[in-house]
Every structure is written in C-alpha cells, then in structure tokens.
Amino acid sequence: MNLERNTHFINLDNLVSISRGNSDRMLKYLNQFQELIPERLQQLKKALNQDDRRQIRQILHKMSPQLQFFGIQDIITPIQRLEFEYETIPFIELEALGNDIIYKLEGATKEVSQIIETHFE
C-alpha cells in the first residue's frame, strides 16, 4: 500500500517498516493512535488547566513512545523538558509548551484521520 507521504506533523516511516505491506497491521497502529492520543490530549488539557504537574508528566511520559513512533519529532524535546522539569518550570513556560504540544498533536490526529479515510474506508 502506498500511503500519502506529504504529511506535515507525522512521519510514517516506522509504520511502513513495521507493517511490511500488511494493511491490517498498518490500520491497527493508525486506529490505536486515534483511540489513545485524543483521549490523552483531553487529559493533558485538563491537567494543564488545573496545573496538575504530576499528571502532566505522567500523560506525556505515556504518550512519548507512540509519538516518536509516528515521527512527531519536534515535540519530543519539549515533552522531555516537561517530563524532567515538571516540578520547577514556571507556569507561563509550562502553559506555552503544553499548548504547542496540543496544537501539534491535534494536527497529527487530523492527519491520521485523513490517512484512514483516504486509504482504508
């Protein structure tokens, strides 16, 4: 299966590699992204609103491998910063980094949806 590769937020190289041309396997990972990331995004927004730093760290820690797998590289550094400085980082910076992560993950989620619609429905 040839996937549209001109994505802006995500990079599908890892997905293509693990799927080895098996479209069911590819869809499994795409669906999993659609199931897990929006839910965790909601949790992240809530935790940011409440300045619940421990929760922010846990959500980001949990999401991070899946985001790396989907090639969303430019949020890995801010995620790592939030993971390690979650207790001390000033709220303004925490909010700005959090909002940037949310923006990019919403973009990534839309791209994954489009790929599913275009290639699997």
């Binding site: 499994k28 999993q32 820690h61 991070s64 491998p65 790396q68 797998f69 890995i76 993971e83």
Partner: protein, 254 residues
C-alpha cells in the same frame, strides 16, 4: 528473520506494559525478527503481570518500569521467586534507569530500536544463568547506601561489590580501577564518569578528573587541596572542585 543463531528451545516470554501500543509494537517486532521467541501472554498492569508470570512461567519478561498500579520493581518484589530474566522497558531517561544500571540489569528504550532489541536478546541468551534482580530488590530495600551492592560486568563475569568496601576509584581512559578495603584492585570497563553517575548520590565524590572517593574512607582533609584515605593514598582535589568539595565535605561527611 533474526541473524541470531536460533536455540533448540524456544524462549518463552511475557510482555507486561499498560500501554496497548507498546504491547503491540514489541509483539510485532519479536514475531517478525525473533522466531525463537514465543510470546506466552501479555499483562496490562503489575497485578496482571504477577498472575501471568505465576501461570505461564516464562524465561524472559519484558517489564514496564512505570505502570499505573505499581512500578516494575514493586511488581517483582511481590513475587515469591524470580525464575526468569527481566528486560525493563522504559521511555527516554526515566529516573529508574540509574537503579537498573547500578544493578547491571538490562533495559530497552521505547519505541524499541531493532539493533538494541537484537543486542538485548543476545545478552539474554549469553547470560541466562545469572539473575541480578534479587540483589537489585535487596538494594532497593536498604536504607544505607553504603550497604548496597554495586554490580559491574567484567570480562570474567560480574563483580558484586558492597559500596562500603570501595575506598576510591581511579579513572584510566575507558577503564577504572577500584581500590578495595582488602587491598585488591579491580579493573572494570567503565569510565570514571559512568561510575560517578551511578555513585554520586551514594556518598561518593569526584574530587579530581582521575579520582572518585568514598566519604567513608576519608581519614584526613588537612588543607582543602589534598586528602588522605584509609588505605594511605594521598588524593589531590582539583582547583576547580575545591569549593564544591568543601560544601560536600561539610554537608555529607562531617
């Protein structure tokens, strides 16, 4: 297919992680590249992991460091016997990596680089007999860091050293010499920086580019630029470390 030589007996493994993505990814990679590995089951959390281990009796467990109900180490401590090897799985630079490395345990970073996975499986095959998890669990229980046992891999096998038995460590490029209370000098293939990272919060201080010292063995600190150890060694304190050494000495040693 794996380039690794397949053994006659399959390696029976369990994956314990509360993230379905990680479970699937590791399962697919193992199935694709390691035909000698048989995945007996999956555990979604620590509690399930305990049950699966007891029921399925694996040789190898891939274990998440941080799960929603407990940590990987907590899960292991709840088992009556540990008859399997563990490869911890974790995200980038988790704080538990230090404890994993201190005890010479194996770990993989999510989302699993294939070469690292191959090397971890190879290490598992080579070292099936040794199991450092019981020592690691004992170390985690100890209140005094000096009672903990540091495990280091050597060409001959493994060194188990109680921290209070280390007087100091001398760095020599990619190797280090550990001077012990019994006058032995052990050579290990770790840099002084590697060891500093493992020991800096356990009563050790890097007072010079070539020396890491154990607070328990300082006998004299006459002038702030040298110190004497219980084995009679005179150790220099580098000029740029003088102030930090002074603070450390006043807070940690005295």
């Amino acid at each position: 297919m794996s380039n690794l030589k397949s053994t006659s007996k399959p390696i029976k493994c369990i994956i314990i992680d509360d993230d379905p993505f990680i479970q699937d990814l590791l399962k697919d990679k193992l199935n694709q590249y390691f035909p000698e590995i048989q995945i007996l089951g999956l555990g979604n959390n620590g509690q399930e992991g305990i049950l699966k281990i007891q029921q399925l009796k694996p040789n190898l467990v891939f274990l998440d460091v941080e799960m929603t109900d407990m940590t990987g180490f907590e899960m292991l401590s709840k088992l009556d016997a540990i008859t399997f090897k563990t490869i911890f799985i974790t995200s980038y630079k988790h704080y538990a990596i230090k404890a994993i490395r201190f005890n010479a345990l194996d770990y993989l970073l999510k989302p699993f680089d294939l070469e690292e996975l191959k090397n971890a499986i190879l290490r598992f095959k080579k070292n099936q007999k040794s199991n450092n998890v019981p020592v690691a669990l004992q170390n985690l229980k100890l209140k005094q860091a000096s009672d903990q046992i540091l495990i280091l891999k050597t060409q001959q096998g493994e060194l188990h050293i109680q921290l209070k038995d280390i007087i100091n460590i001398e760095g020599e490029r990619n190797y280090s010499y550990i001077n012990m209370v019994n006058s032995k000098k052990e050579l290990v293939s770790k840099t002084l920086s590697n060891l500093e990272e493992l020991l800096e919060d356990k009563g050790f201080f890097r007072c010079h580019k070539s020396y890491l010292i154990n607070k328990l063995h300082i006998t004299e600190n006459p002038n702030g630029s040298t110190l004497f150890l219980s084995n009679g060694m005179k150790i220099p304190i580098s000029r740029r470390k003088k102030d930090t050494f002074k603070n450390w000495f006043n807070n940690v040693v005295i």
